[in-house]
Structures are given as structure tokens and as C-alpha cells.
Amino acid sequence: MDKLVDTKESTQSKKVFWDQEVYDQEIKNIFGRSWLFLTHECMLEKKGDFITTKMAEDSVIVTRHTDGSLKAFVNSCTHRGNSVCTADSGNTKSFVCNYHGWVFGTDGKLVDVPLREKCYHDELDRDSLGLKTIRVESYRGFVFGCFDETAPSLEDFLGDWGWYLDTWMVGAGEGAELVGPPMKSILKCNWKVPTENFVGDGYHVGWTHASALNVLGGELGGLAGNQAEMPFDELGIQVTTRHGHGFGVIDNAAIGIHAKRDEYAKYMEDTIPKVAEKLGEPRAKLFNGHWNCTTFPNCSFLYGTNIFKVWHPRGPHEIEVWSWVIVHKDLSDEGKREVVKQAARSFGTAGTLESDDGDNMVQSTHSNRGTYTREGTMNSTMGQGYEGEHPDYPGIVGSSFIGETSYRGFYRFYQEMMSADSWDEIRANDEHWADCFPNKDYWKDRLAAKAAQAEGE
């Protein structure tokens, strides 16, 4: 388990997409210790509102309790283990188990038990029989849960990634929220295949999505079939951060995927200067870019296209895909409808671009059924060495949106979590995590050369 990822050669063992023992360790070391996306606060506005979701394979209820706080607990009765909630969402005073009628409050506490006096002889210790609680914290309205009491706060877990998220989660107006209910589908692939694809695969866009880009046209249409001559090192960047969160950004392409974009385009035009004023030029530039991202371990989104996804693992070879849509809160109702519709059309269950990806993800997983196939490694060396610390952007920044910097960063932290026995062991590496990106002066040299060239002209 300590040698699944080679950060020097930028390879990963193919076992990571197939082996049950790898998966079991992931559930324990990664899903058991990371902050996992649950929902957005806009879906839990009123007291008693609830949603059900999953943290890896554990069924979870998230509520707005009567005191106004957010609560999360495991959806399994403390008596005989039955689910206590079978709806996707709703509003309730309590959760009643269908099996024997035990009643739990919106804070997960056991509040009533049938025949408690007569048959339990009033001796049942109700205080110790509440639903198993889960840490729950919220970042800019996005709600996450964590099974590990020793894990850092959500804000610290996000780290520099929070700085990037603020670009649109804070933005210039009232920030952003999610539109649901989520579309849900099954994809027979390992959970890391779409996760790595979203964290940093600008490379596949032109080829995998050639059919959709041909029909779409516009700013992104030029990528179709990798035919166009493009200065890829000048069109965007890739970033990876301490805890494996990362993204790639295509400059000026935020609205590229949206065929009907009038309201959204106008909103962006009006908003970018305000973002510059509030958050500075570097983030105003990002605000107008198209991002492909993963928040470690399994929450991905495309900002610009605005699809927001969680890949719930279901064993090593299958996931459940949940898809919401990101909307800026102060966009007009008409603008929001456009965004929701276009996000679903491109990357929903019947999305024209999503359709292209699914098959690759399934085959990239199931080709590893073969024992001899699985002996090999996978390669993620694109752009290796063309990355480092940047004066404007935190984390490690890669030279182009078509590169594999954020792949490398994702798997670097993946290996760290798979090997570490505790969060203390992970914290001890906080100063040295970026050592595997040794070209420290990459951006200094490149920006100096660019400045010299500009001066010469």
C-alpha cells in the first residue's frame, strides 16, 4: 500500500483501479478521514429540513435542527440497524424507524421507544442510543461531513483550495448555491477515474468530446479533434494544493459551453470588475475562466459549465454519480434557468459531453480485470517539471491547462493518506509536501523571460 504511487516517475499502479484490498484501505484511510461533501445549506433552510446522502458507502442524514444548527448522523437505527429515513429530502420533527418504531430527533437523539416502560422496564439508557453523529462543517454554504474527530477543520482541510473556491463562492455578489434535486446514475468505474479526470484532464477534452465540441462551436469548439494550432502554455494553468485538491482553468472560457448564454454572459461581464475590486486581478481572471476541479477525495465540479458532482464509491468497480448545478445567487431567475438547463444538457445524466466520458471511465476500470494487465503502471508525466510556485497563485501551478500537474498532486496526497497512520503523521509533512515538484524557479524564470521579451519588443 506504500508503493501504489511513484511521485518521482509520476506513475500509479493499476491496482488502484481494481484491487479490493486497495479499496478497503481507501474507505478506511481516505473516506474515513477526509471531509466529504454532503449538501448545500440552501437545501436545509428551515428547521426540520433534511436530506439523505452517502459518505462513501455509509448512508447519512443531514438536518437543520430545531436550534438552527446543522447536524449529520448515520442513517441506521441503534436498535437493530434498520434505516430510519427512506426519503431523499423533506421536513420533519423526527425520524421513526419502520421496524420497531424507535423515534429520533432532528439532532439524532433517541426521543421515544415503544413499550419502553412495560417491556424495557424503564431501564433503557436512551442517552447512549442516539444515532451515530458525524462532524459537520460548512464552507461558504457548502456542507461537508467527516468521520474523524482528529481531522483538521474543514477550512484547514481545504487550505489554499479555499482561496480559489472563494473566487466564485464569494465572488462579487451574494456568492453561489446549488440547484437540485441531484440527478443520480450508476457508472461502473473506479471512483478515482472521474475524480482524476476532473482534477486535471484538460488533455482529453479535444479528443473524447470531439463530437459534442463540433456541434457546440464557440470558444471551446476550436479544441475539437485537437486540430487547431493553439498556444497552450498561454491559455490557462493547472494547480494542485496541500491536500490533493486541484484544478485546471481555461482562460476566458467560463460561458463557453452554454449555447444560450445571453443572461449569463451579461452577468459575467457586469461581475468581473467587481470581483477584481473585491478579490484582486488574479482571481478576477480565474472568475472568467472555465475550471475542471476536484475537492479531494470525490467531489468534482466544472465552474463555468457549473455542474457539481459527487462520485460515491460502491466497491472498487462502481460508483453512484450525483449531479447538481452551481448558480450565482444574484443571477436573474431567467439566467439561473439557462445555467441549470445548459449544465444538465452538457454534463447531466443525458449530457452530450458526459456521454462521451462515461465509456472511457468504465473501460479504464474494467481493462484491469486481467491479472497481467494489472501488473503495469499508469503514466501521468505530462508537463512534469513545467510547474512550481507562482507569485500570484498559491499551491503548485502547472504551465498549461493541458498537463498533469493536478493529477500528480492528487495522487501524491492519495499515497500520503493511504500510508499515514494518523492526521498527526500527515501534519508533520506540511512543510515538505511540495518537494516532489522540484523545479522551484519555473515561474520565476518563465515570467522573467516573458518580461524581458516584452521589454525587447
Binding site: T86, A87, D88, S89, G90, N91, T92, V179, G180, P181, P182, M183, K184, S185, I186, L187, K188, T208, A210, S211, A212, N214, V215, A224, G225, A259, E320, W324, V325, R337, V340, K341, A344, R345, G348, T349, A350, G351, T352, E354, S355, D356, G358, D359, M361, V362
Partner: protein
Amino acid sequence: MHNTEAKERVSAQLHYELSQHYYQEATLLQDAEFSTWIETFVAKDLHYWMPVTERRYAKDKRPEPTPYDMAIYNDDYDEVKDRVARLLTGAVWMEDPRSTVRYLITNIEAFHTDKDDEFVVRSNFAVYRHRGQLEHSEHVGCRQDLIRKVGDGFQLARRKVSLDARVTEDKNLYIFF
């Protein structure tokens, strides 16, 4: 948009004609004759809709989804036409070799509406897709259509597709229902 009132049932003759139309439509779709389908079987004012429906408790009084809410399909004519155009680019790698898709269309019930040339038609479907060696998926649900008599045939003006499954057990849904 999808709430045209269904009045009395159509005659046996009209029901037969409509049923034949539905079987022909299924044949076009399973033979990948998408251009013929969009050009002759579909009206220009089409709305093609597959809402996302949550599992909710019976006591939950929130309204049913509308076309303003999250939907898997929420397309006008041009948007469906774009989907067809994509399938015909020759660059949909996973459709070469092609999948086979089979449509079983049943329980066709047809009703008159306020307009002489428009009918509400409900039907059930089972769609099976096979691909590669062992890959297969199936989708079961119902459709509520608004169908318009045009010349000797009919054209689809509204289609609401309801899948029975909450979680779609398939890698994608670029097939038409």
C-alpha cells in the same frame, strides 16, 4: 406546457393509426434513423422533457417538478436537433461499433383535447440497450405526449418522459425515449 387536458378516448380507428405511428417511431429510433425522426415525426414547437423526481414521503406537499426545475432532458426542437447532429458527426467513439437499442412500446391510451388536431397520448416503454460483448442496460417508464395530426401523419409537440428508477443504471442516456 405539459398540462393539456385529456378528454374522451379516441375511436378504434384513430387509436390504430396512433399506435402504428408509435411503432414506426420506435423503428426509426432503433434503426438510428434520427434525421428522419427529427424532420418528419417531430414538430418545431417541441418540448422534450425528462424531470428529476425525488423520493418523497406521502405527507410531503411540495409541488411536482416543472420545466423550470432540474431535469435530465429539457430541450426545445433545436436542442434535440443538436443531439441528433452530435450522434451523426461520426466522432461518437463509443457508438462505433454501434449499440443495439430495442423499444417495447405498450399501454397506448389516446385522448381528444380541445383542439381537433391534437391528442394526448400516454404510453409505457421498456428500452433495452446492448453494446460490446456483455454490456446491457434497461430503462422502464412512461411517456405523456401531445401529438398533432399533420397531413397523413402525426408530429410530436410535447413529450414528458418519466423514468421509474430514481437512480439511472446506465453510463449515459443519449438515447431518445
